[in-house]
Symmetry: C3
Subunit: 202 residues, 3 copies
């Protein structure tokens, strides 16, 4: 119930982040819808393909499509207002990333994969929608350029497995993992923390 | 028999549209072949991956490869002449889109998916080859920028399901769906109809 | 044993070629890691998806991830030195391509595909990692622009099937196929052989 609510919020946030990028590129209405759709379902789709879980999840549950079309509709309608709300969008987006990371990890465990691979699957679930959005809009994916994105997913994944390993905290692994992703990402943006550069300054 | 003929025409048209884009980009002969190949089989490949129908269709039927290699060969040979024929190419391309939309829908129904998802699968089948062609050539996919592309696929898909639902017209669903896609796309290009803009004019 | 050694060398070379491209683009550390990872596993992943061999290979064998992370770490550390070593990197890269071509072909045969399709699968295995690296870095894939890349894979694949068909040379098919790929690629680069142009010179 709680997870489903955040799942819906995450799908909405990813769909709207697709709308924002697509409308900045002046795509036509269907282009905007497709980018919103792909941003919202891209990560889960690649995850399901990699583990052989087909037909992929949004094909088996029409709610994804209903939520995405509604989100894109309102995203386009309130585009000018949304610009002022990017801060709260960032929050939704971060919630989505937190949830999708843990969902990806749990799907990997169901498929019998080892923890390190499960965490990679979590990162793929959380980030690939944004990557494909940026590729389709002819940009270098934002995840490769800024913000501690993957770091947050990895540490959230590690927290998940640590909590899951200790019998006493086992039941809190899902929520704990999500919170660690949220916390690191919010702190990183709030305090402008970024990964140390690997390039010599001039 | 009739469908197989159009399928061949569609594959030829998509392969040649790949050749035209690749040669505009001055790719080497194998680059041109690869782009032609990917444009022709991209949509069906993604469709088969999403519904878990593997090995994907062109791997199980060598005719696709023979048709594509032949098409690319003649496309390169007659490149300068083809420029004057782009209008008839547009027709082939549109026939291909019409057919691939309905093929995608029927594959979705075989996989037990609901109509709305089947239509999405039809759009993917019809358009993804062109999308991946444009991504590989470092362009924003044309489908996101102009023409009523997806609209034609959606309305053709709706027509297909309406005809299929009525016992009296059931046998005409396939042909009817294809014709609706063709008609809308041709009318849209002929009369320069496009989707209403969602951007304020300056 | 011999094959496993070259497989490791190939994975290392592809991972490092990803690091070189990503660092030229000034990506952050995780961006570099992701590009290195994708370059190394991209070809095998698409191959496994197309033939329905899921979960894909690097998800079932953690050694791939360990080798890639180690390679990226040293690639970043010795980035400035590696620039002078690009010639030997080219050799590793070519070894990787030779091996991956034949691995792809053998996986295709296991899946019951015909030789021509197996060769296409070999090309995909050998080249898709580089293609996706270049797409993610917003470049037209190098394979479409220069060097006799696919030609070497095709001739190596043909050599493989010829050797495999003759009872006397059957046991040398794998090694023979790899050597043909290596030889053609090295000769092509050494003597600056390229495919004949299909464009009229001005």
């Amino acid at each position: 119930m709680f997870l489903q609510l955040i799942d819906v919020l995450g799908t909405i946030a990813f769909a709207i982040s697709g709308v924002l990028v697509a409308m900045d590129k002046k795509l036509d209405p269907f282009g905007v819808l497709i980018i919103g759709f792909v941003t919202a379902i891209g990560g889960g789709t690649l995850r399901d393909l990699l583990i052989g879980n087909t037909p992929v999840v949004w094909m088996r549950d029409a709610n994804y499509m209903i939520i995405i079309i509604t989100s894109v509709f309102f995203g386009v309608l309130f585009f000018n207002k949304l610009k002022y709300l990017r801060k709260s969008l960032f929050l939704f987006d971060t919630i989505g990333i937190g949830l999708y990371t843990i969902v990806g990890i749990e799907k990997g465990m169901e498929a019998g994969l080892i923890p390190a691979i499960c965490i990679v699957l979590g990162i793929i679930t959380a980030s690939f929608g944004g990557v494909i959005r940026d590729i389709l809009c002819n940009e270098i994916p934002v995840i490769f350029r800024k913000e501690i994105y993957a770091t947050a997913c990895i540490l959230g994944g590690v927290a998940y497995f640590v909590l899951d390993y200790i019998p006493f905290t086992k039941n809190y692994a899902t929520v704990g993992g999500i919170l660690v992703v949220l916390l690191i990402r919010i702190l990183a943006v709030r305090y402008k923390i970024s990964l140390p550069t690997i390039y010599k300054s001039n």
